[in-house]
Symmetry: D3
Subunit: 310 residues, 6 copies
């Protein structure tokens, strides 16, 4: 079956897709229609269903997969899928194959993360990291790292963490006064609060807690409770980790209540900044044509990138 | 015995005073001298001891009271006390009378705080407030509210809290959708982290924890641990209090990791802003002459205020 | 007759309402329709009239009351009133009952303001306040305090002034170096320029003068002329009041040509800030459901507030 | 007699000079000395009097001229005049020749200003300008335009005004929709409030009014009172002039309570900006050597300019 | 033939016009229509073609002139031309008469520019200016100065340059330490990079180079290459011109990699600022009615100006 | 011979050291003395010479090595070397051993850089890099990367470049849409302008060109001239490199005339940011004690870092 990336304006197409989101809207003449976000597991496309009964009669719901017939129009220079038929999918279809996911396998990422945990030489730091991950268990190994800005897919959190650990290795090599165990531990848990800030693995929204506290504050609380439980709440290790979680956004105006004040906190901040930006830009460039521009990219304020003809 | 506020340039004076701080310095000719901050319990003055032996021989230390003989010079338009003799004080001198303190008595403030706690109708909120204060016990009722900006004296923290509760009462009256219990609880514990951010009641400096985390993050951790202990960590009450602690500075660039997002958090922020500013300005105006300007005031970037001739 | 707050999506409704604003618009197909803002004296709702003749034949005008028949659609998740009939209202209908107004009665507010004026001990200050209010007479006691941000209804200006005087009383109590008469006078006239900045009591827009000068500059001019007339233009009192009007927005970037430089000007600024914010948020929370969010609120950049389930 | 600009490090010099300012200071060893700012009517130099009796015995006061003997030391790479003798000056010395003054004569500037007033075609505008200048009379024609940033000398205000009128002529020519009379009037009175913001013609400081209100607010009040007196307070002309005074700093953060909103206000702002900056930089470049840098310049945050070797 | 400025809402009109831009769009019902920007050489108007065949059958293209029949609707308070017929124009129509152009003739501007070049006394500066202009030849004398903000029409670049030279003359007169030749040269070439930043004389867009480098960087490169060719790359003249191009936007945040650091660079910046703003505002005021406001103006963030009734 | 890092307050010491800088100063009593910055090739210390003849008689000059006798005082809590004797050094002393240098050998860094150049697959990019480095030859391989902020020592420029290439390798691996050759080329030449911005290898200051243009603009000019010489000035490769040099500071306010607009420019910016910050912090942490704070660090606005006790 054709992927969205292979379809073109003007074509009539048939495809299976997962409904990522769905909204009822009205034209100025009060006629109801539906706007849908559909994914084939790789790309997300916009679709319109002008005949509201197509949606109502099939009881179409977000998070489910259907078979669609559509014509692809051009609208404001972009492709717009106009849906003509919606049908239930064959029971043999594997729904999970429509979940967008990290470019590396969840298995590989999970194992890599566990290997890095074993490389932490300091026992208190290792114990804390293990405890914190154990507390949120599978969420840590399944969650996306964000709603939309970067790593916004299954395994996104460990994909982000794994890439950061790789950059951390280079930093530890170049700047030998960095404490390896502390930097590893900081990278591993800096975003652990995201498991409570976001509502789930697929199509997440912010939880109430996420809106009112944010992942930095949530992570600090999780660390405080875990340290108390392990009886290490007064240790230098815990204080340094708390400081690293608190300061990893680097500046007050970016939501960190404190600026970095130890070398490992600075390293964590610059590693996080680099990976969250470049990992968001890299796939956009991959999707675009050489000599042309990408579409608008959320993480750089909807600016576009040019792709060199090289 | 004359108070500092009654002494004048040109006079030779004798007085008892507490040493708030003490620093050895050198002239360009390498001659050692001492610079001292002295207080009579009301005002702080600058003093110089050109003969280093006066300090060394008496083993002068910060936090202790001595008897001084001095001449008052003018230096750059301000008074400078040049110390000529230092003597141990009579044993009958009450050292505690030299500690600067809130303009209201500690007893009155403590009782008032306790009355307000009783006015919290919500049992979970009341339990949390009591637990948190119990955890830091006397520190809460003795501590200053800051190192230098405002309420920087014994009982400063409860003086600040008490004034805020008074303003809160007016707000609750004017804006009836404010939840009284929630606002009281938020005011009572918003600065509880200061008991770990500052090093002590008299002449405090920032603790290591204070430097690396700040009182907002410390307070959030204290609340997380206390809620866990009380078994109410998932309650709406705890989430709202955490949000109020996190957002009470009002803006990210002022160190709050989240902006206020409930009515009570907005009220807390504006009440805190009003009292921390006006309580810092009020005594400076009291010390100055009508028709003249105050000295430079730390909390408004060392600007001065004019005192109207009214 | 049902209030807007009691109506629901899907209902057919009949009601009397005042037209707050009215705009002719066109669909992409060039068909004309009307967009109306209607109020029942409490809430403002959005309505559409797809048949332009309904409006044209009834000579519908802003500021007048009509009887409407409508169906309530859902549009983008919100209620949209689609008007089917418009009729003149019965002559017995009291138009003034459709004007939105302060939650306290105009009579009460006016009397309270007058009592506060009598509490000003300084004769020059009292004379100036009386003269300034006399110059704009009923406008002062009828006007809203703003177009949309806060207190945007009849008696809004004195409602805002009265609440500020109440907070001022608490401040005078807590910070005894505040000059009571000066702060009262400053609160009473700080927004007097609004009577020329806004075009009227109901559905006001900015006047030309309002656009080009703003209420701070207009107030300064009114005070300059009034002081000249009373022969007190060189008095300390006038200079302090001018400074307080000029600086009450607190910061240059918020439109104050000078920052506060006397204690009473700082108090005025923080009192104004507190009431203009909290008075705008309070009713929005009142209209929302516990455990849910309010609609977007203009005075906090269209963010929403969460309403705790407490 | 040699001018300061002709003297060199290492020389012993004798000269008459006006004392611009004078301060008693103390060395770390408590020895009193005096720091003086002296001018020959062109340049200002720093001087030290290590023997305090030289100053005390001669009753040396700011604003008076004396005869000095001095040695010129080098201190931190700059010239430092060390005074050895101070004597009263010969009675025939013309004190006024020591006042620093505009590079164009006061007579020429005054006449030029008056000619421009005659070029205002609109009678109301002309009447207002004449009335406002008449109210402050000689001050307008004598005052500096600032304490230190630009045109900080006798006739500075009319020098600044005259240069701005010259640039205005070019603008009127290039941008024909500018109303000539309105722009002339705006330029002529935009800084009239400086006559009350500054304390006098020579060595001015800010008045209390200047500190609390600033020249924009003062000018607005003067215009309000003058317009009332002339009975034109409701005229379009007055409103436009008020707007131009209020907005001539161009941006809120630079102290204008409103941004420009008419073409003439924009022109006034850019003309004022250009002259206040370039007129401050021009003489500094004149004093420096080609291929070298000027000293630090106050109006550009104490940066220096390079002077091209061309 | 009527000009656009003479047409009114409700009229049926016939006119020739140049297509400045053209976009295919879709209604919510998927019906295609065209949106066109048309100019009569003076004004630009918005037009809609609801029948897509009118455009497709006539092969309508931007940059060409056609004859149109239209009805003028009102849409959101503005005129909207609804096109009913499109016909090829008579061959005798002079297409170039539909290009918008500077208010002064290209011939006059070109000659004026050449006269100013002759007034440069410094031979190196004169040689560089001539070489740089020769390199881009007719582009310099034909190009607009910007896409939309100011001087966005044929000859706009030399119109802008000419006006700046006129203001420069006044500055040279008022601030005699400005080096005349250096300022002239700087004004003449400061925007030379625009000939590569913009795609052409009529309806320009940003080139790829324009997007990636901008006219400041492009101009610096053109100057570097030209100086190398003339063998003057190490001269003081070239260094000063490079600095002036680099710093002419005045502040880092406005895209200048260096702030001005010589007097002539400051003069260039303020002259450029004045002309680019006032030249953009002047025609908008000319088009508006006295006592009313202009439309929103792009160069002042879409604010409007009021036009005084004087 | 003892290194500075081994000396203590109170000791009398004898050592050879290079004079990094030297300034004549005066005490308030006009007595001349000298302030010297001395280095042993590792650390820089502050010294005072109270007897000016010691300096004058030995004709002491920056950049030369002498033998010193000194006593180490404490001044404001820091060590102050008071010089008692200065003697010429033995002719056998190797002056170059007193130059501070990169922690990796110049030979190793130079060879590593050359290997990376060979890894550039694109011939145009390789040719440009080789040409640019050849043009400034040994300077590229000897220069520091900055005056004071980071890599401010011999071989600093290639040390910085080498570390960035190492981080680039990690990025190329993690973000496969990065063009390896383009990123290598960009890293290799992004700071080539520093060879003209700084005055030399040891104790550099900004050149006139450095002050007026900065290394970004200088680098752009060098690239423009080199590309012209190689005949590739219109190639995509050159445009991309120009864009990368122009945008490598990332934001306008940090001196980049354009923000990054291709993936490789973003990568370059974040790699440069990471290395310039962490490489500056790393040695400061190395010099400090665990559990204490470093001294104030220039590259983070003179804040200090805490060094964890781990």
């Amino acid at each position: 079956m054709k992927k969205f990336s292979e379809m073109k304006i003007g074509e009539d197409v048939v495809f299976n897709a997962l409904v990522e989101n769905l909204q009822k809207r009205f034209t100025p003449n009060k006629k109801a229609y539906y706007s849908l976000g559909l994914t084939d597991g790789e790309t997300i496309i916009d679709a319109r269903v002008w005949d509201e009964l197509l949606v109502d009669n099939n009881d179409v719901k977000p998070g489910c997969v259907y078979s669609f017939e559509a014509h692809i129009n051009e609208y404001a220079g972009k492709m717009q899928y106009v849906i003509r038929h919606i049908l239930p999918v064959d029971e043999t279809v594997d729904v999970s194959s429509f979940f967008r996911s990290a470019p590396l396998s969840g298995e590989f990422l999970k194992n890599s993360i566990k290997e890095y945990i074993q490389k932490i030489d300091n026992e208190i730091l290792k114990k804390i990291v293990i405890e914190l991950i154990a507390n949120v268990k599978d969420l840590y190994f399944e969650y996306p790292a964000a709603m939309s800005m970067h790593h916004n897919y299954q395994y996104g959190l460990i994909h982000h963490t794994f890439s950061m650990l790789r950059i951390a290795d280079t930093c530890i090599d170049l700047y030998p006064n960095i404490n390896k165990s502390l930097l590893y531990a900081g990278v591993l848990i800096h975003d652990v609060g995201k498991t409570k800030e976001l509502s789930g693995v697929h199509s997440p929204v912010y939880t109430q807690e996420g809106n009112l506290l944010g992942h930095i504050v949530i992570g600090l609380q999780m660390l405080a409770v875990a340290s108390e439980k392990l009886g290490v709440e007064e240790s230098e290790e815990v204080k340094m980790l708390q400081h690293m979680i608190a300061s990893h956004h680097g500046e007050l105006e970016w939501g960190s209540p404190k600026e970095p004040a130890i070398l490992e906190a600075y390293a964590l901040h610059y590693i996080d900044l680099m990976d969250s930006k470049l990992a968001a830009l890299n796939p956009e460039v991959g999707k675009a044509t050489k000599g042309a521009n990408t579409g608008p990219i959320g993480s750089i304020n909807r600016k576009t990138l040019y792709v060199p003809k090289l």
